[in-house]
Amino acid sequence: MPDTTAPSQHSAAARAERRRLRSLDTRRSVVWGEKIAGGVITVGGLMVIFAVLGIMLFLFRVVMPLMDGGEMLGDVRYQLDTEQDVIWVNGDEFQTLGIAVAAEGRAITYHVPTGTEIARTELDFGGAEVTAVSGTLSRDQVAFGFDDGTVRFAELGFSTATTARRNLPEGLARLDDRDRMGDGRVFTEVGTGDFRTLSSVVELGEAEAISEHAIIAVDYRVGGTRERPTLAFATVDATNQVRVSRSRVQVNMMTNEQTITTTTSELPSLDLAPGVSVTGILLSGTGDRAIVSTDDGFVHRYDLRNMDAPQLAESRRVGDEGVAVTAMTFLSGEESLVVGSEDGSINVYFRLQTGTRETTDRRELVRARTHAQMPAAIVDLSEAQRQKEFVAVDAEGNVWVFHSTSDQVLFELARSGDVTTDSTAMIFPRSNGVMLVSQGGEIEAWQYVQRHPEVTLRVLFGRIWYEGYAQPTFVWQSTAGTDLAEPKYSLVPLIFGTMKAAFYAMLFAVPIALGAAIYTSEFVDRRVRATVKPMMEMMESLPTVVLGFIAALVLAPLVEEWIGAVLVGFFALPMGLMLGAFLWQMLPVQTALKLDGFPKFILMGASILVTAQIAIWLGPLFEAALFHGDFKQWTTGRIGTGTPFMFLILLPLSYLIVAWSFRKTVGHHYRALLGDRDRAAAGRLDALRWLVMLAAAMVLSYAFAATLTALGYDPRGGFIDSYQQRNALVVGFIMAFAVIPNIYTLAEDALNAVPGHLRAASLACGATPWQTALWVVVPTAASGIFSAVMMGMGRAVGETMIVVMAAGNTPIMEWNIFSGLRTLSANIAIELPEAVKDGTNYRVLFLAALTLFIMTFVINTAAELVRQRFRKRAFQL
């Protein structure tokens, strides 16, 4: 190479030659353009795959944290300067301050993360020894019971204020990165330059004498308003006498002086066996019930609704024989009673209205859940303030945090040092930490985050026994009426609603769409088809909000008013068409030929309109004849029997049976009979046959229905029940409207793709067009038709606006065609705009979207695979 090229570099001719050759080369810009275009288009094309996967992955990413457990952020342990054991502890919602009260009356306010003492108050118990202590749910109102039979109340709370940076006092001591302290207060910077100031409020009330004996158990509740609080407390003394006291506090507006009036009533005796002693007492906030636990394994429930005549409503053994109940608490809301026993078992009881005669108030405690068993006897149970959570401590010092509704152990808190026994624990108000005090003034505090403790797979898809329900059920109720009721996140009613709506939609859509598609493809000439098909396609893009509006505001009231006519219509329309067909058969050949095609089609339409009008006339008569004049009344099940409706439902089936048996027995002879006559006569005979068969079917159907009724079956309560204006019938009908064009277009395409030579061959062999369509075209296109139906189903499953507007949106689970429903899609549309970002409801709604996505993904992929295969096969034919 070098020797040939080297000399030519110098020759001008060679240079010109090289220039010429280069100009023949493709210009660089074209080459690069080509490469860029190829790259961009390939990447762009594959973007579709990424889009689908991306949507799915994104939804997954939002949903996944639902399944995450919590995360421990750390724990601290320190010793407080107390002389005796700590008997009560409270912490604020920011996990900044804690107050611990020791048995000698010393109340220490300390900084939770470091254990630094902030303030100290000596409470004067007047020399009495504390024998029982209890507090309200928020833990800032506490009652102490003493060995001299007195009770004292105390406030052990926190006060919060905001201080601007420029108002911050001088000379604050630094506690940690976040907090500073000074003169009994803790200052925390909260981002915007302001400081949150926290201090403790410690006050002790006067002693009130309740009993002559030592108080062994106490419970304390504060109700009423802040201005006029009502205090209620229950005590048990050493003689096992249970007392309930109510104090009314009246504040004099002028002098700001408080007057407390206390009334105490003694409750009926527990009649305990000798040697059995009380281990605890609980009082409900409304003061209508008190629960006492004993060491022989019983809980006793007092009915206090009538304070003048308190009753011992029931005594129920909650554990094995002789296993003591060692701890009890209500979960927030006071519907669930958590009972911990000597053997480490923890059970949750609901008080349910079962109508039992064994208790005095027809209610009883029913065991709703059994939580994971702890290794040793439960010594303390303490509930969270805002969730259905509690922390349990056992005799070996294990500290477990439970979520009751979702039945899971959220944390098994690890102790950082030696385990000292007999501890009590509390959950911080925001359910993000636990503080444990061991006897002797040792404090251990854990901080954790738990994202969505109330949701597990079982909550989402299984039956859960919620408070206030008689048994485990599927419930969707994401926003509750009160703060104390918990949200209920079962997706099952929504999936059920989706299925129900899709089912009824398909029930209407499939026959109409497929019938229309077959007729358009096989029996209509080109010109009609060219106008009908675009019309149907245009219907496909009708906004569903319009359909929904028509459904809810026009159709629903109309159907409600004319329900009788609608029912008649379901039977009258097919019968009208059949009547038309048999009349047509009676026409002379020439007339039939002349009118074939478009006029015949017009006649079909006319027969529908005429029967619709007849149905409207007959509606009230029909209702009067079969349903005692009022169908809606009938559906409630209060009047009449199920026979008339079953008669109608079974009519098509009976007709099929009659037709089938006719065909099997005399079909051959009958056909021979027809063949011998001219067309008009054969038509008359055939019409006669039809009428006879119809009559036979009616008789048969009535016989079936009567038999079913005699056997005790009544459709009411099943797929027929009381009528609501916005119901599955209306939704199904209008949704069918949205789905029909879809199915129709795809099915018609599939039928059209069947090669013409198959038809030609069939017709050439002497088959009629009807026979060709039925036995050649439709079977060939079956997979395509199936795929069309699937696609329609996919659309029905995801349809939103129609359901939002016309379905009533009640998440109930019944097949009743006259009741409302709530679908996944409608639920998302209704609730997502209000859901807090990254909250539990937000994520559960994303899960609903993901479920919907997966449902339609499966349906569509299956349909598309079938369709691709059908295309390939149709191409090969």
Binding site: L46, M47, F523, D525, A581, S607, L763, P769, G798, S825
Partner: protein
């Protein structure tokens, strides 16, 4: 069939038909019909069932469109006011809206006299009733009242009853009791009232113009200054930004002074406006006293000539398409909704066009047909099949919260914690809908590309053009009409979708349009109104769905007309193309 073949000259009707059909099959091409041996082989009942299904479908569509069109078209036609005296002495005045049959309840039956009861019983317990729009919501607490036929004693159409459309409180039906012009009381004089009402409306519009345009501009500028201050403080620190902040503070003071001047002018006009009043009296004699400017339109419904009716009809239509809504969206116009729908759809097309065309190009021109294209096709079909609400969820979570949240942190930290892009807005809505409608564009573009004859491509390649050049200069221009069809179909689909929009930025009443006179003119972060959502909102979330119904029907008609027009255009273009390419082989 076997029976007929045994006869030489078949006597049966079916065979007769077969003879005719045989002749037709020669002439008629591949579809041979009416070929039958006996009557059951023709399958007449089956045919009627299939045909009935098609007929039913068409009847349903026609009925549906008919209901919407009839209700929509007649809504704005002025109807007479009827004064109805009931048998119990009650009197009401109203416009008959619709009538229907209902089942009379037991408790009502007990209160009726024997003749009425007999009449109802003869009708199987049903009775007819009419819904009257009695209006006067501020007096009655309700707009509508059902009146059963058996209750009615006498119906008249008094000439002096007027129909007043008011700015607030909806419609008033009654007569004019008196006028107050510039503080002095005057008797009712139609010419005077007409003149003064027109003048009062002008004052009203003047106030509105001042408030919305001039004061709105000042508010906008003040807000911008505030944000600029915060931005400066955030970027440069408090001390460094101090001079800039002080400067901006001075500008705000100027603006506020300007604001005071304008506000004073508004107050002055308003003060003057309060002296022009009208006293309206309802049928029962109670009166209300209101500013003349509150009356948008009024007419003596029972004295209208045909010409006047037509004038009112079209003036209402004009208000509908050119004005803003009033009275909780149940009256007035839908201009912001039309604007929002169109703007969102246009924006969507900008996003969807390149993506759709590129994918179609990939499928048709670049990819080897095989497993990968099959997966792409399944993906396209899945995109088409995914419920629209899922796109809404994705749009909210990904576009608005994730992407928008990031944009806010990077570019709009001064407005935080108020989100700028980190919430639903027209940009995210149109992106979401672009994702939703991309399959429509892909399928249509693919069809269009497939319709370009192979010979044209080969010719171009043979002349030395590269593949991209062939596509760019030969294939795409040829396929453009088909691609446009896809776009139009996508727009039709996008304009009609509501469910995803509910999650990504549609609102019942947008305070400002997404496009206005303030820099940068197009505000992609703003919420917007939408015709489809308007239907949902007025029909289902207003205080009285009956009051909103006429509005819903008209809006529905408008939306349907929009979508049907778009679809029809697309279908016509497509059919024309099909015809062109069917014969247009080179």
């Amino acid at each position: 069939m076997s029976t007929s073949s045994e006869h030489d000259i078949p006597a049966s009707g079916g065979a007769g038909l077969a003879g005719v059909a045989a002749r037709e099959s020669v002439a008629g091409g591949r579809r041979v019909r009416r070929f039958s041996a006996d009557i059951s082989a023709v399958g007449e009942p089956g045919l009627w069932a299939l045909g009935g299904a098609l007929a039913l479908g068409i009847i349903l569509i026609a009925g549906f469109l008919g209901v919407v069109a009839w209700n929509g078209v007649t809504t704005f036609w002025p109807k007479p006011i009827e004064r109805v005296e009931l048998r119990d002495g009650d009197v009401l005045a109203g416009v008959a809206r619709r009538s229907g049959t209902y089942r009379v309840g037991q408790d009502v039956l007990l209160r009726l006299d024997d003749a009425q009861r007999a009449e109802i019983e003869a009708n199987l317990g049903f009775a007819d009733r009419t819904l009257y729009q009695t209006a006067n919501y501020d007096l009655y607490g309700d707009d509508f009242r059902w009146v059963s036929d058996f209750e009615v004693a006498n119906v008249t159409q008094p000439a002096d009853f007027h129909y007043f459309e008011r700015q607030t409180w909806g419609v008033f039906i009654g007569r004019v009791a008196g006028l107050t012009i510039d503080g002095t009381e005057r008797a009712f004089d139609p010419a005077l009232m007409q003149r003064e009402q027109a003048a009062a409306r002008q004052r009203f519009n003047e106030i509105r113009r001042l408030e919305q345009r001039d004061i709105g501009r000042i508010n906008h500028q003040i807000e911008r200054e505030r944000l600029a201050q915060r931005r400066a403080t955030l970027r440069q620190g408090e001390e460094a930004a101090a001079p800039a902040v002080a400067e901006s503070q001075a500008r705000i003071a100027d603006l506020q002074a300007e604001f005071q001047v304008l506000q004073a002018r508004v107050n002055e006009i308003r003060e003057r406006d309060r002296r022009y009043r009208v006293q309206l009296e309802e049928v029962g004699g109670r009166t209300i006293d209101t500013e003349l400017s509150q009356i948008v339109r009024y007419f003596a419904a029972n004295q209208l000539s045909l010409f006047e009716k037509i004038r009112i009809y079209f003036s209402r239509w004009w208000e509908f398409v050119s004005a803003e809504p009033r009275e909780a969206n149940t009256q007035g116009g839908v201009l912001p909704a039309i604007f929002g729908t169109v703007a969102m759809t246009m924006l969507m097309v900008i996003f969807v066009a390149p993506f759709g065309v590129i994918t179609a190009l990939y499928l048709r021109e670049y990819a080897k047909q095989g497993r990968l294209t099959s997966i792409v096709r399944i993906s396209v079909n899945n995109l088409a099949g995914v419920p629209s609400i899922v796109y809404g969820v994705f749009g909210l979570g990904f576009f608005a919260y994730t992407m928008g949240g990031t944009i806010d942190q990077l570019f709009y930290p001064e407005a935080l914690p108020n989100p700028t892009f980190g919430k639903g807005g027209i940009l995210w809505a149109s992106l979401t809908l672009a994702l939703l409608t991309v399959p429509v564009v892909i399928v249509a573009s693919e069809e269009a590309l497939a319709a370009v004859p192979r010979s044209m491509r080969e010719g171009s390649l043979a002349c030395g053009a590269s593949k991209w050049q062939t596509i760019r200069y030969v294939v795409l221009p040829k396929a453009l009409p088909g691609i446009m069809t896809g776009m139009i179909l996508a727009m039709a689909r996008g304009a009609g979708e509501v469910a995803p929009l509910m999650l990504v930025g549609v609102v019942k009443l947008a305070p400002a349009l997404p496009i206005d006179g303030f820099f940068p003119f197009i505000h992609l972060d703003r919420s917007f109104m939408h015709l489809g959502f308007h239907i949902f909102d007025v029909g289902f979330q207003s205080r009285n769905s009956e009051a909103g119904k006429p509005m819903v029907f008209v809006t529905t008609l408008l939306l349907l007309a929009l979508i049907v027009a778009m679809n029809a255009t697309a279908i016509i273009i497509r059919n024309r193309l099909k015809r062109r390419y069917a014969t247009g082989q080179f």
